[in-house]
């Protein structure tokens, strides 16, 4: 009798635990991203469908720019308030190394591709870190004012360094990454040797010397929104920024701007889950990631912004822009026409040399 009672009680308890276990996910989550048109594309493609499906309340925090510093501080204070964070691959690597991001097993914690391909294969080499769940491929490239560059618009990256053919201001990012590579490419270094040269102090000086030739005509930007604003104002005749921003200037805002795809630099952006979340928040974050990085969702994002989906299986599903109705495929950085001459950003190199070259670059800027 007593035994039966105990058994029943245990069964009941197990059942309760089982039931609550299935629903044991936080009902609110904070997703951190970059803001602007990019956050909007995520809202439409991921957050809204997910909230509808699960009833979770999603709060957006546009703090990705300081994600590394803030996660460090939150960890130190023992109060991590973020559930899913959108970061560039390089930041994900740093966070992973410092133990601030959770490791993900792609094959069990991410959805299979719609063609049955395992996630690890579907993302392929884009899984650059154990903590990183790739979302998009974007590129940093140049846009130019069609009405301010004369009759022969720039077509090669080296036109940026050609003050005679294209006099006027150009905007470049206020950091060495990409600028140093472009400078070397235009100083006659072969594409495959760029990082080898850049690893030497002479190579770094060479790149800075090339940048010196246009330094007086450069406006330095630090936020992705700067170059579009400068181009729209006509304050610069060409400038580097993320290709999705340029798409928005050209197609959505109808400004007289065109793309210069030559030597565009590919980079990755994706999610990480902060380490040390409570079980229910972790369960919620993983459930969200599973949903938001499946084949269809990644393809959906491309309806709102011109960044390429990170899954191979998503590429064929990329369709038209949600509002403008134009085909998005030709605006993707990965489109064969645009990717004729691309430059592959070297993560390992920058992880090793970033601090040194940063210091050198800042000193050069201040000169």
């Amino acid at each position: 009798m007593k035994f039966t009672k105990t058994l029943m009680a245990t069964t009941a308890l197990t059942m309760v635990a089982g039931v609550s276990g299935a629903a044991d996910m936080a009902d609110e989550m904070t997703i951190v991203s970059w803001g602007g048109a990019y956050s909007k594309s995520q809202l439409k493609a991921y957050h809204e469908p997910y909230a509808e499906k699960s009833g979770v309340n999603i709060i957006n925090d546009d703090s990705s720019a300081e994600a590394v510093a803030k996660l460090r501080a939150m960890n130190e204070a023992g109060n991590v308030t973020w559930d899913v964070v959108d970061v560039v691959a390089a930041d994900a690597m740093r966070l992973c190394d410092e133990g601030l991001a959770m490791e993900i097993d792609a094959d069990t914690q991410l959805a299979d591709g719609d063609n049955g391909m395992k996630a690890s294969e579907d993302f392929g080499e884009l899984l650059v870190s154990d903590c990183f769940i790739p979302q998009i491929v974007y590129s940093t490239t140049f846009g130019y004012r069609t009405d301010l560059v004369g009759d022969t618009p720039p077509s090669k990256i080296c036109d940026v360094f050609d003050l005679e053919a294209y006099p006027g201001k150009r905007s470049l990012e206020k950091r060495p990454i990409n600028n140093m590579e472009w400078a070397l490419l235009c100083d006659g270094v072969a594409k495959e040797d760029v990082y080898e040269v850049l690893a030497t102090p002479e190579g770094q000086d060479k790149a800075l010397a090339k940048l010196d030739t246009i330094k007086d005509s450069v406006v330095w930007w630090s936020a992705g929104a700067d170059t579009p604003q400068l181009l729209a104002d006509g304050e610069v005749i060409m400038g580097s920024t993320y290709n999705g921003r340029l798409f928005s200037v050209i197609e959505e805002q109808k400004q007289p701007v065109a793309m210069l795809w030559d030597a565009q630099v590919f980079d990755l952006d994706g999610w990480i889950i902060p380490a040390g979340l409570s079980d229910e928040r972790k369960a919620r974050a993983l459930d969200y990631i599973m949903f938001a990085t499946d084949t269809q969702r990644l393809a959906d994002q491309a309806k709102y912004i011109a960044y390429g989906p990170a899954r191979k299986s998503s590429a064929p599903l990329v369709s038209k822009h949600a509002d403008l109705g134009i085909d998005m495929a030709p605006h993707m950085p990965t489109d064969p026409d645009n990717a004729k001459n691309t430059f592959l950003y070297n993560y390992e190199f920058w992880a090793d040399y970033r601090d040194d070259i940063d210091a050198k670059f800042q000193a050069w800027l201040a000169k």
């Binding site: 803001g35 602007g36 709060i59 925090d61 720019a65 109060n79 604003q229």
Partner: protein
């Protein structure tokens, strides 16, 4: 005011000098806009000096001279730059024409005492010009965002349509965006929750502190005062870092020990942090009001049998109310404008208006920010008007009270 000084005609060189300077100043702007500042300045000066010479020596009819300058420059402006050019040209013509005769006829002296030397007259007008320049320097950055907030495009740029006063170039879409966009609405709501509650806390604590510190028997008054107003003096970023770690622990404790909801704890943290920032303003304004407060009134009240609390609410409070309210307004504005501390202490659910503007400015330069700024400027104007009216009321009350 009647004329003080009989006026007489002035020599031509004086007219030429003044209108020449004025013409050069305006010409500098027109010239810069069209490529060369110096050339514009020379042309502007030559134009006005030439006109002055013609009017004084040939035309000799003031009304005709001023009319010709006004209409002529208006038409020239229209030919050069359309309607905005016409407006600016006409204004330039009207002022220039008026100035020629104002100097020539010696009218500039008519309201000044007759014994002033030429140097004193010069200083009299130079002083006004300097004051005007400072005023422009202060107000232009605020005014310039207002028309931009009606931009039909998504950039911080005066488009050619806007400069032509073409209705196509203007739109209310950024205001619509503010009122329909969830993020903006949520942050506006958060600001409206956080700022008033923080204000009430700062006003109560600050007023009590100020009254306590005004008692002569309190030891170490100056030291306590210095500590209390330190949040205003310490750089905000330092306070914010300290608050971040302090309130993280505090928040964890409230969540785990008291079992409070995460969002509620977030609001409590931000409200308390903002109250700390607001308290110094209340202390300073209330202390200043208490200086003029007549202490014999409290003794009189006590004599009549009122206990200290009744005395405070019935006698002291009504008299220092203007100080309390203006301190409260400052506390409110501090919280309403604050971005650094809320970035550190708050989480995304407590995103306030300045936070949303800050991220918006960094990630997407959208004129919605300008629309919000315009709305906030109007809110501030309303608050400051209230402040000024309260100040006048307090002056009136003081004038009536026996001293």
């Amino acid at each position: 005011m009647a004329a003080l000084t009989p006026i007489s005609r002035k020599p031509f060189w004086l007219v030429a000098l003044v209108v020449g300077l004025f013409g050069a100043f305006i010409g500098l702007f027109v010239g810069t806009a069209n490529g060369s500042g110096p050339i514009g300045a020379i042309c502007g000066a030559a134009l006005l000096v030439g006109l002055a010479f013609l009017y004084i020596n040939v035309l000799k009819d003031e009304r005709a001279g001023r009319g010709i300058t006004f209409a002529g420059l208006g038409i020239a402006g229209f030919a050069g730059a359309g309607i905005p050019g016409a407006v600016l040209g006409a204004i330039f013509g009207a002022v220039g024409g008026w100035m020629i005769y104002w100097i020539y006829e010696g009218r500039y002296r008519s309201y000044l005492p007759p014994y002033l030397t030429a140097g004193q007259v010069l200083w009299h007008y130079a002083f006004r010009v300097i004051c005007g320049a400072i005023f422009i320097f202060l107000i232009t950055p605020i005014l310039v965002v207002m028309p931009l907030s009606f931009n039909a495009e998504n950039f911080f740029t005066f488009t050619p349509e806007m400069l032509r006063f073409d209705p196509e170039g203007y739109s209310l879409k950024h205001y619509r965006d503010f009122f329909s966009n969830n993020e903006w609405q949520r942050s506006f709501k958060n600001s409206l929750i956080i700022a008033p509650i923080a204000t009430v806390i700062s006003v109560s604590l600050g007023t009590m502190a100020a009254i306590g510190l005004s008692q002569s028997h309190v030891p170490a008054r100056r030291a306590i005062m210095a500590i209390l107003i330190s949040p205003m003096i310490v750089p905000l970023i330092i306070s914010a870092t300290g608050m971040f770690f302090f309130y993280s622990q505090f928040g964890n404790w409230m969540e785990s020990t008291l079992g409070l909801d995460k969002n509620l704890v977030g609001y409590i943290k931000v409200i308390l942090a903002h109250a700390v920032l607001g308290i110094p303003f209340v202390i300073i304004t209330v202390t200043a009001t208490l200086v003029g407060f007549d202490r014999s009134l409290t003794r009189a009240a006590a004599n009549m049998g009122a206990d200290p609390i009744t005395t405070f609410f019935r006698v002291q409070m009504p008299l220092i109310l203007p100080g309390v309210i203006s301190g409260g307004l400052f506390a409110f504005i501090t919280s309403f404008d604050e971005v650094v501390v809320v970035l550190f202490v708050g989480s995304a659910s407590q995103k306030t208006l300045p936070w949303q503007m800050f991220t918006g400015l960094r990630e997407q330069i959208s004129p919605t920010i300008l629309a919000v700024a315009t709305i906030l400027v109007f809110i501030s104007i309303c608050l400051l008007t209230t402040l000024e009216m309260l100040r006048r009321r307090s002056e009136r009350l003081r004038g009536m009270s026996p001293s």
